[in-house]
């Protein structure tokens, strides 16, 4: 961890606790009731900030939102995943079926 200041205007991700476990809706299942409801959003830092500190960001639609600074230039981590051999086997098998004209 570094305590170098993150400059004003940087695109960052912030974290906010919305409800503590005690404040959660009565109908939520047991496992969900044990954890807080949290919110993550992104925006441009309105002032210089520090990781882990409460900051204010300006969102893409222009609102100001406060929260704990958790990431700088947040990365999209989703991808196409590891190869799935069971999936790769499907194409050749059904093509062979079509070509062979197998019945049933």
């Amino acid at each position: 961890m570094t305590d170098k200041a993150v400059p004003k205007g940087t695109w960052v991700q912030i974290h906010q606790q919305i409800l503590t476990p005690e404040q959660r809706a009565p109908q939520v299942p047991e496992d969900t009731a044990k954890v807080p409801l949290v919110m993550i959003t992104k925006g441009f830092l309105e002032n210089e900030g520090q990781m882990g500190q409460i900051v204010t960001v300006r969102t893409l639609c222009g609102r100001s939102i406060e929260g704990k600074l958790i990431k700088v230039l947040p990365r999209f981590a989703h991808d196409f995943g590891d190869a799935v051999p069971e999936l790769l086997a499907i194409g050749p098998r059904v093509r062979a079926l079509l070509e062979g004209g197998e019945k049933q």
């Binding site: 919305i18 409800l19 404040q23 959660r24 809706a25 109908q27 939520v28 299942p29 496992d31 969900t32 044990k34 954890v35 807080p36 409801l37 949290v38 919110m39 993550i40 959003t41 992104k42 925006g43 969102t59 893409l60 639609c61 222009g62 609102r63 999209f76 981590a77 989703h78 991808d79 196409f80 995943g81 590891d82 190869a83 799935v84 069971e86 999936l87 086997a89 499907i90 194409g91 059904v94 093509r95 079926l97 079509l98 004209g101 197998e102 019945k103 049933q104």
Partner: protein, 467 residues
């Protein structure tokens, strides 16, 4: 200062909603349960001609219709002699933002702009977020999308992460939440803070937006192939896709059998933090489909304009493995790489085609876009990382949340029919239960009869059992 506690905001819900939709639903109320559905759809909605014109303005609709010749051939190989309908596919991924949800968003955003709202808010982890964001971008409105996105470990469902990215790409503020129904509380607070329009999926505008989809199917089949649809299969979750499409089919004079299809996620709890990342579908599944079919008025508007029991002739389920398998078939045999959730109805279609004659016409009513996270390989890889067992065999042996089984042979694609009368009974129990012991009035009975297509006697028999 305003009390923004959970209880206080929920107590203001009706007031907040009225402002955020700009319509008083009480004008359509006719008795305790009864409301005038057709009046809601015609007076508050838009005519088909208006919808077409509004959607043309932002490039929505008029998506291609393809005949899936190789998948039809494969279905016929597993069908009795003379059986195996021609399977057609409406390629809704060609809409701006990549799904049929653009049709709904086009109307919501048009309506919001027309009534002077500066922005729109939608509570959705699905394709609707990107659709609203895209339509708002075209019409110069601001947009905020509230998503249920990750579990308490901070692990995102990859498909939702992709949809969040897409919303951001179109200029939305994206609020991502951990698992739980209190998302609605955050949504209400945003509506109250901003004064923006509630671009609900369930307003008459949103449903009218889907009617063009059913209408186009009939026109395209006639113009391109000179045939009529005998059966239309529709991926079902909140019920708007089915309701809107079926209304459009009817307006085009079609009497096609309307089949809803969902992925079976029995046993997984939708509000459970533990179950959240044990499912590989974020929509088109029974976790939404069954509760919304059996009680549509659980939505974020006073009366839901999506009322699937009015239009659904059958409701079938398939497994996650079968939906993934046909997603692969669609790419490998038809050259169309599309998202898995949109292919739920395609899986059902392979099984349904075997029931129909070779010259009959079966329409798979949509596709959705695919991309990182929102992809069959991404989902299976993610499921395996989460301890879900992936194998090849008989999908009927799979257990949602524990295993996914890809069929070994296309003959193993099999649908399970839900009992329509059970669904209707459940709907009536919900509806009559809201009366808290009061007797339904004659107008309530005729409304309920129409709302789930049963006789008044059927309702009387249920009413006697409800306390």
């Amino acid at each position: 200062m305003k009390d923004n506690s959970y209880q206080a905001v929920m107590a203001r819900s009706n007031e907040i909603m009225k402002k955020a939709i700009g319509m008083d639903y009480s004008q359509f109320a006719r008795a305790q349960l009864a409301f005038d559905y057709q009046a809601l759809m015609t007076e508050a909605g838009y005519s088909l001609e208006e919808v077409v014109a509004i959607q043309r303005e932002t490039g929505v609709g008029n998506t291609p219709l393809y005949e899936l010749k190789n998948i039809t051939k494969l279905a016929r190989m597993t069908a009795p002699k003379g059986k195996g309908a021609r399977i057609f596919l409406k390629d809704e991924a060609s809409n701006p933002s990549g799904s049929f949800k653009a049709r709904r968003a086009a109307l919501s955003v048009y309506h919001a702009a027309k009534h002077g709202y500066k922005g729109v808010v939608a509570a959705t982890s699905g394709n609707y977020g990107a659709a609203v964001a895209s339509q708002a971008a075209i019409r110069g409105l601001k947009s905020i999308i509230v998503q249920e996105a990750f579990d308490s470990r901070g692990v995102y469902q990859p498909e939702i992460e992709e949809k969040g990215r897409a919303c951001e790409a179109y200029g939305s503020e994206v609020l991502q939440l951990s698992v739980g129904p209190e998302l609605f509380y955050v949504f209400l607070r945003v509506l109250e803070d901003t004064g923006f329009f509630n671009a609900s999926l369930y307003t008459p505008y949103a449903i009218a937006g889907v009617e063009t989809l059913g209408w186009e199917i009939v026109q395209q089949l006639k113009n391109q192939y000179d045939v009529k649809p005998d059966m239309v299969v529709i991926t079902n979750a909140g019920g708007g896709n089915l309701t809107g499409t079926a209304r459009g089919l009817q307006k085009a004079g079609s009497d096609a059998v309307v089949v809803g299809a969902s992925v079976d996620l029995k046993g997984l709890h939708m509000a459970s933090d533990n179950d959240f990342n044990r499912k590989s579908f974020t929509t088109g599944h029974t976790g939404f489909g069954v509760p919304f079919t059996t009680w549509p008025d659980r939505a974020d508007v006073p009366r839901n304009a999506a009322r699937p029991l009015r239009y659904m002739d059958r409701y079938v389920t398939i497994t996650q493995g079968e939906a993934f398998y046909v997603t692969e078939l669609l790419a490998q045999l038809e050259g169309l790489e599309r998202g898995p959730a949109g292919n739920v109805s395609l899986a059902a279609a392979v099984a349904l085609a075997r029931e129909l004659d070779e010259d009959q016409v079966l329409v798979v009513q949509e596709t959705e876009y695919t991309g990182a996270g929102k992809h069959v390989n991404a989902q299976l890889s993610f499921a395996r990382k989460n301890g879900i067992e992936i194998s090849v065999g008989n999908p009927a042996d799979s257990v949602p949340g524990k295993s996914i089984i890809l069929p070994e042979h296309p003959r193993q694609i099999q649908i399970v029919d839900l009992d329509m009368d059970d669904l209707r009974r459940s709907y009536l129990n919900h509806a009559l239960g809201t009366l808290k012991g009061a007797k339904p009035l004659p107008e309530d009975i005729s409304f309920l009869a129409e709302d789930c297509r049963v006789t008044p006697e059927f309702i009387e028999s249920i009413a006697q059992g409800v306390k």
